[in-house]
Structures are given as C-alpha cells and as structure tokens.
Amino acid sequence: MTDLLFSCLLKDSPMCPITVNGVEHQVPARLSVAAALLYLGNLAIRKHPVSSEARAPFCYMGVCFECLVIIDGQHKQRACLREVMPHMCIETAMVGVNP
C-alpha cells in the first residue's frame, strides 16, 4: 500500500505499452500518466490558457489541474490521477517541449 511512488522504477518492473501523441512507448506499469510522461522526458505538457506559459504537472495529487491531458479521447483528464493501462492513448496539448 505504501510503496514509494517511484519504487517501480527501481526494480525490474513489468512494462506497459502506451501511445503518447501517436507514438508508442513502453513505460513501467503502475505509474500514473503524469509520472509516465515525466519518465518519457516530457516536462511541460500544456500552455497556460491566459499567459501561454508552458505548464507541467505540479501537485501530483489532483488539486492543481496543471496536468490536464486527453486520455482515450476524453478531454481534460488529470494525468496524475490515472494509472497507465495497456494501449492507453494519451494526447498532450504541447508536444515534445523540454525546456
């Protein structure tokens, strides 16, 4: 229950296939979508609607709404509250931005 958040990265974790912006990737199973995006090297994933500043998941616990992505066609999903599932299809508003 109280495993470290990223303990799956330390052991030989089973991998999970997901698609991010149309590209297939393997990420450790049991990560949240937000953590998986970070694992894949995506820092910023969207723009602030007012300032257009690059934004990234911040609280990882569902309160800041900085991590919104599209998951399997459903808009405005909080990436930090969803666990990766095999063949999950994730789309981010900003692509490949690693400031």
Binding site: H48, P49, V50, F65, L68, K76
Partner: protein, 375 residues
C-alpha cells in the same frame, strides 16, 4: 523589545480581528501616524473568516439604494481604490490583481430591468450624479458581453465597479503592516475585554484605544464595551471553474467574474443557516444554473473547486461604524463589503478613528452608526 516588555507599556491601539476590516484599519492608522504602536490580535485558522472566502468584487451598483450615506460612502470607497491598490502593491510587492473595468448587473426579465432602472436612478440622485451608469438593452449588453443567454433582456453597467484577488489583498495588507511596524498575533482569540481607568486590557495586552473588527464575534465583544453591534451570518457559496482564455468575461458581475489566473468564479447565493458553513449540492446546482442561463458557454467548463463562507451582515446590509459612548477610546466596525470598502477603511475611516476628519466626512461616517437600529 521582548513581548513581555511590550505588555507593560500600553499600545496606542489594539485591533481585535485581523481580517480585511482589521488589517485595512491598521494599515491606515500606521500610515497616517507612523509612530503609533499598534497590535492586531487575531483568532485562529478555523474561525469563520469572510475575508478568505469572498467573491472579490469592488462593487458600487445598488449599494445604499435606501441609505444615501452608504451610497456615497461606497462610491467614495471605490474611487479611493486605484491609488490604494497602487500604494499597497508597491509597499507589499504583491500584485493584488486590481482591475476597474466596470461591472454588469444582468436582468432576466423586463420587470428586473425596470427595477434596475429605478435603483440606478436612485443611486445617482443620492450621489448628486457622481454614480455613473448606463442601462443597456439586450443588444447593447451583447455588445459588451458577447455570448449572453437568450434569457438576458438587458443589464446595468457601471464603469465604477471593479474586482481584486481578495486573498492577495489580505496578505498584502498583512505584509505591508508588518513592514510598517504593526505588531500581529495570531491564535490569540479575545474572550474578555477589561475596561481600565485609561484604556483596555485584551488578552493580557493593554491599549489606550481598541477597535473591534472580529467579524461575526463583534456582537458578543460589543456588549462588553456597551456597543450594540448586531451582525448575523449569511452564507454564500462559490464555485470555481478550470482556467479559460482571458477575456471571456471582460466585466465582473455579482454572479460571475473571471480571475486574473483565468478561472471563472461563480457565486451569488444567500442563505440564513446560522454558523453552518458547508457547501450543499442544491445551492451549487442553483448558482451553476443561474450562471449558465446568463452565459451558456460556461456549461462547457469543468468545475474544480467549491467553498462557502459566512457574510458578516448587519440588519440593513450597510456597515456599522460605532464609537462606544460609555467607554472612551472603544470602537466597533462591522462591514459586509470589506473588500469594496478596504480603501475607505484604510483612508477615511482610520482618520475618523484618529479624530482628524473634517466635519462633513465625519457626519457621513457617523450616519452609519447604530442609532439607525434603535427600537
């Protein structure tokens, strides 16, 4: 100086309550007379605090329709805001997101529109034409706010309304006060105020003057200083949407405003439920529906937060500025529009407390004492 030493020599002023009212008054006092020793005694974080749950409007429309002094006071307060905001942001280095782009009060029926017409005309009369407004038919309202729902038949617009981030306002006041030398103690609820020969003892600290700014607790504390301060809680519920592009709602209204961060704040409920400050689904649905009736496209936005808070309400909704006639140096301030009037409290009201106002201003403020509730 250690706190123990401080307690021996009396303060010039003790302010009971560090919400918007107490913090604005302390800010005004210390700026006018920097040598004053001022102590703010505040309660704890679980107290009812309108100052951290409000809507953030600096509103003039409809304030004091049946109370000319309050109408003039609200307008003066709003007119003092631009300079107050500039100075406060400068002193505290906090951007409080003050804007005065004007506000809209929507009418959903011809009857509501004619009530608004009456109210606006009355306010203009009370203020000798200084209150500015335009009554808009549906097309004129649409020109200002595109996307209005079918049900909106018109609106009243006043360029004198504005908005601010009320949380930044409160923390800017506290920060500026600290920098200017006001002392502040939190988690220090005042249970009992002892009247001394030349002053007061509150929670072990002594002062020559005391101002009660304890929000809903003013009624209880007022009695100890022979002041009738009738305030009751009126609950308001608020919803926050996800952030939307800037400019969705260029003008604030009592039902909705867009914050500088992009979220849209929805509110406008009034419930008499005592000290119960819980949110409830039925009221959340009602205010969400009302907002969508006015602006249908809001239905597309997700809600991300909700809360409710208790207004500090006097019997007629106007502020109470009271001087204790029995105990010299004791005052009580109760105010439902503590955001709108923050500049007036820091400016004119603190001069009233220091007894440095000219006659006309004094008469205006004293028209809002509790004599009007006499039985």
């Amino acid at each position: 100086m250690s706190p123990a030493n401080n307690k021996l020599s009396p303060y010039d002023w003790i302010i009971v309550g560090g919400g918007l009212v107490g913090a604005s008054i302390a800010y005004g006092l210390i700026q006018k007379q920097p040598q004053l020793r001022i102590l703010v005694l505040d309660g704890g974080d679980t107290d009812h605090r309108a100052s951290v749950g409000n809507f953030g409007l600096i509103w003039v429309q409809g304030k004091g329709n049946d109370f000319p002094a309050y109408a003039n006071w609200s307008l003066q307060g709003a007119d003092l805001w631009p300079e107050f905001a500039r100075q406060l942001s400068h002193k505290s280095q906090i951007d409080i997101a003050y804007q005065r782009q004007g506000g809209l009060e929507f009418a959903l029926s011809q009857h509501q529109l004619s009530v608004l017409r009456e109210e606006m005309a009355t306010m203009s009369r009370h203020t000798q034409g200084r209150f500015q407004y335009t009554l808009l038919d549906r097309n004129a309202a649409l020109a200002l706010q595109p996307g209005l729902g079918e049900a909106v038949v018109g609106a009243a617009y006043s360029p004198q309304d504005g908005q601010v981030n009320p949380l930044y306002l409160l923390s800017a006041l506290h920060k500026a006060n600290r920098l200017l030398g006001v002392e502040y103690q939190s988690r220090c609820p005042v249970e009992h105020i002892e009247v001394l020969e030349h002053g007061f003892n509150a929670a072990g600290s002594l002062a020559k003057h005391i101002v009660l700014c304890a929000g809903l607790d003013n009624q209880r504390l007022g009695k100890q200083l022979a002041m009738h301060l009738p305030v009751t809680p009126v609950k308001g519920q608020i919803l926050i949407t996800e952030r939307a592009e800037a400019g969705k709602l260029p003008y604030a209204s009592p039902q909705m405003r867009q914050t500088a961060e992009g979220t849209i704040q929805i509110g406008g409920s009034h419930e008499h439920k005592g000290l119960d400050n819980r949110s409830s689904l039925d009221i959340m649905q009602t205010i969400a529906n009302d907002a969508v009736t006015i602006m249908p496209e809001l239905a597309k936005l997700h809600l991300v937060r909700s809360w409710s808070a208790l207004r500090v309400m006097s019997p007629d909704g106007a502020p109470i500025y009271q001087r204790s006639t029995k105990y010299q140096g004791a005052f009580g301030v109760c105010c439902h529009s503590g955001v709108s009037l923050a500049a007036a409290h820091a400016g004119l009201l603190s001069s009233w407390l220091l007894n440095t106002l000219d006659r006309d201003q004094k008469i205006l403020i004293e028209a809002m004492n509790n004599d009007r509730f006499a039985v």
